[in-house]
Amino acid sequence: MTVPVGSPDSPFLADAAAGWSAAYVHIPFCARLCPYCDFAVVAGRQDQTDRYVSALQSEIAMEPSWRPLDAVYVGGGTPSRLTVEQLGYILEEMRSRFGFGDRPEVSLEANPEDWTSSLADGLRRSGFNRVSLGVQSFDPQVLRSLGRMHTPEQAETAVLNARRTGFRSVNLDLIFGTPGESAASWRATVDRALNLEPDHLSLYALTVERGTDLSRAVAAGAPAPDPDRQADAYEAAKELCRAAGLVQYEVSNWARPDHGCVYNLIIWAQGEYLAFGAGAHGHRDGVRRRNVRRLDAYLEKVEGGHRPEQGAETLEEWAREQERLIIGLRRAAGVVPGWGGETLLLSSWGRRLERAGVLARKGDRLTVLQPLLGDEAARAVLALQPRER
């Protein structure tokens, strides 16, 4: 039973997810590339989707058999650039190869401009029960700065339609701190999102990723996101979400009770997930693998009968423990301190974090109280030397 019953921030869910199983499928196609995005994406290659879906099916078939899946996440890029049929084939291949657990979470990322009633109906029929819409903002000017193709109205219509169609969970992605976005605009965006009564909300601070058009523009003198203003925006949103009954369960994620994202919970619990598609990352049998990122390279490999693996990494025991803390501490539920947590608490960095009110041990859990300063804790964890157990 993998329906995330209860508050999304419950320690029980956080820990239980370590034993669940997921699969991630990457769909790299986009209508055009957004200037801030550094995911594995391609634009103008729509003619390759059939080939890609076949390759995905071959790759899934090549994967050694595994446990039934508790969650499937089809992300991108823009999965909504595929047809309902194509998406259906992918799910079908997955179901027949691994089987699904009891009431699995089956998610799809979609862009608002692609959303139609027939797509929605088709997705439901194929078995998708969760949708994540890339709304980003309800301010037309911010949408323009972000290079998005949709209007606020399209986004709103898409969300309302998704809800009506009967998806179990609907998520909205929003980006804050875009240069030029005022505090009022951001509040209005969050208000309007909350009015749509989403089950789940992801709020991301705009990040200047290396190698993107945005980073080149900033290097050339365009305004960069201001971290202090982003902190203000974050605090404001936090308050609005709380008032609307959404519970924060990770640095950037909020959900209504019973609507924590299973796939996310698995990743943050250092759980295991298969990965398919260009640039996809998986974690299976203690090994972290990544696929080749370029579309053509991916297609060639798979069509040549090879697994499209680019690299794999098996972490040593201590590195694994550090990783457990780094990702686990991003959750509101925190972590069971364990070997690494105890080491951290005894270190000068750990004590400094405690004194600054960033880190706290509450009962049997170790948590980061100020999620906005979480990377300081993560760096401290990485700087630690393992202690004798």
Partner: protein, 597 residues
């Protein structure tokens, strides 16, 4: 053998090294092919900066006009005031001095200072006006000024151009004619003065010696009088300027001595070399110069402490004005408190350590030595602000004063007086050297002169003023220690002892600079400047508000980890001061900027 030992002395840049070039050329010591400008300035730093830092001696073979063969031992000296110690040492090895004056500039402060040194040492002075080829040259005026300084007839002043070579022959003849031959005592037991040395990785310590009495042969068994070290002279030779091995160094000759000693502390500049088993009266040697400024030198990488110690030992062989003792700083770790003859000397030592010994160093703000009389009547010399006792134990403090000589065109007297007054100077006297030029003598606190005084003086006088100074006395002064506190904790590397009136300025400057250099932390970090418990300046580094990666990259956990790993490396290089993480670079930048402004 006809030997003439002489130094070339002058104000900085008046052309000593260029004149040496011409003398080397004319006597055939160096071939046309080997010739380059200021050929005796061999150190990279000397060539880059176009100044002489170390005195250099060279032997010239000269056939005089009357057919006599002469050996001329020439020493080219530095002109910068920081290195006047090198000049004194050089003069001690000579019977004569060639005193140069730039025909366009006339007598300057170091012309006078060096002339007095030569007179005091009892040397025969040959006055020379150089650069007569310059369009702006006023040889007659310069000659008159120079003649007045040493009390000779202007007609006796030699006129040369070290650039074109004009007048060089006449100068050579004057040297042979006027410089007395050394007082030979060839029949006496060997006494040779070690006047310089350096460390050679293959041959060990190489000593430069002047044989005063007797003679020194290769293979002789020798004794260093002060250290009582007995060794074999495995090689002796002369510098022409290339090292040329010879079987013997006779009385009055200057050359080098190698004994194969690798232990640096066995050799001391100023020591007397004698034959083993022969008792002699050691030569007077040298008075060690007293440092003017002190600064802490720390390896940027704490693991380099031992390498720094070795480097200092070796460098001291080649620069006996350098003194040092171990020092510990909470902020910078283990290092050395070093004494220097001035800021240029400090800069040179630091650069030589970094270049010749491949070290990366952090230097603390330079300071002078203060004299503190405690309430119990005892007197302490304070070379480092950290050594200052609590104010309750201090009866009074004194600071070192200089006697400074400024020579400048008379139109600048007003602006110079203004500057000197702002620096707490007191005039001793003022005198016109000519209707257009004045000499001003002031008493000034060393701390006010040593840092940026000269730059200020030059810019106010469009480069026309020259400055020379010597230590004078100690005077009671209103001194305070300014501490810089990070999050309430003093950072020893930034403490300074300073005159009451300048304290606020220093505090404010440091605090503002640090605010820019210290990265935001998990909490607000107050940066304060304090005198005792009184805060005189304050800034705050506001706490970081956001320091988190927004997204976990669709399952790409390794990527986040790697990103953080890179940042963590920076974290390990941070120094913790009062719970504040300070990047090593911040210390370096804050201190560097201070030496600069």
């Amino acid at each position: 053998m006809n030997i003439r030992n002489f130094s070339i002395i002058a104000h900085i840049d008046h052309g000593k090294s260029t004149l040496a070039d011409r003398l080397l050329e004319r006597t055939g010591a160096i071939s046309e092919r080997e010739m380059r400008e200021q050929v005796l300035d061999t150190m990279d730093l000397e060539r880059e900066r176009g100044i002489t830092i170390k005195a250099q001696s060279v032997r010239l073979d000269y056939r005089a006009g009357d057919g006599r063969h002469c050996v001329l031992n020439l020493i080219d000296t530095p002109g910068h005031v920081d290195f006047s110690y090198e000049v004194s040492r050089s003069l001690a090895a000579c019977e004569g001095a060639v005193l140069l004056v730039d025909a366009a500039q006339g007598v300057q402060a170091q012309t006078l200072a060096n002339a007095f040194l030569a007179i005091e040492a009892g040397l025969e002075i040959i006055p020379v006006v150089n650069k007569i080829d310059l369009p702006a040259a006023q040889p007659e005026r310069a000659a008159a000024e120079l003649a007045a300084v040493i009390g000779v007839d202007p007609d006796d002043v030699v006129r040369v151009s070290a650039k074109t070579g004009g007048g060089i022959d006449e100068l050579l003849e004057r040297i042979v004619r006027d410089v007395p031959a050394p007082r030979h005592r060839p029949d006496q037991p060997l006494r040779a003065l070690v006047f310089d040395s350096y460390y050679d990785a293959y041959r060990g310590v190489v000593c430069y010696v002047r044989v005063v009495d007797g003679s020194l042969d290769e293979g002789d068994s020798v004794l260093f009088s002060a250290t009582r070290e007995k060794h074999q002279a495995t090689e002796v030779g002369v510098l022409t300027p290339r090292a040329v091995r010879v079987p013997t160094l006779g009385t009055g000759e200057v050359g080098y001595l190698i004994t194969g000693v690798k232990e640096i502390d066995r050799i001391r500049v100023g020591d007397t070399v004698a034959h083993a088993g022969v008792s002699i009266e050691p030569l007077p040697g040298y008075r060690d110069p007293k440092p003017m400024v002190y600064s802490g030198l720390f390896p940027a990488d704490g693991d380099d402490f031992e390498r720094l110690r070795e480097a200092l030992e070796k460098l001291r062989l080649n620069d006996s004005a350098l003194v040092y003792e171990p020092e510990t700083s909470r902020a910078l770790g283990f290092g050395f408190r070093c004494g220097f003859l001035g800021l240029l000397h400090m800069e040179i030592i630091r650069e030589r350590l970094e270049r010749e010994y491949d070290l990366e160093l952090v230097a603390t703000a330079p300071s002078v030595a203060y004299r503190v009389t405690l309430t119990d009547g005892s007197v302490k010399e304070i070379r480092s602000p950290q050594d200052l006792p609590g104010s309750d134990r201090i009866d009074h403090m004194e600071e070192p004063f200089l006697r400074a000589m400024i020579i400048a065109p008379s139109e600048y007297v007003g602006t110079i007086m203004e500057l000197v007054q702002a620096r707490r100077g007191v005039m001793e006297h003022m005198q016109y050297l000519s209707p257009e030029r004045v000499e001003l003598i002031y008493h000034l606190p060393l701390a006010e002169v040593v840092f940026d005084f000269f730059d200020n003086l030059k810019s106010r006088t469009r480069g026309y003023a020259s400055l020379d100074y010597e230590p004078h006395d100690y005077r009671v002064s209103d001194l305070v220690r300014v501490d810089i506190l990070l999050n309430g904790q003093p950072v020893d590397a930034f403490s300074t002892v300073i005159h009451q009136e300048k304290a606020y300025q220093y505090g404010k400057r440091m605090v503002e600079r640090l605010r820019r250099l210290i990265p935001r932390q998990l909490f607000d970090v107050p940066i304060q400047a304090a005198i005792g418990s009184r805060i005189i300046s304050r800034e705050t580094v506001k706490a970081t508000r956001k320091d988190v990666i927004a997204k976990c990259y669709g399952g790409d956990v390794s990527r986040k980890r790697k990103l953080l790993e890179r940042q963590k490396e920076g974290k390990k290089r941070m120094k913790m001061v009062g719970q504040v993480e300070v990047p090593q670079e911040a210390f370096i930048s804050a201190l560097q900027a201070d030496a600069g402004d």
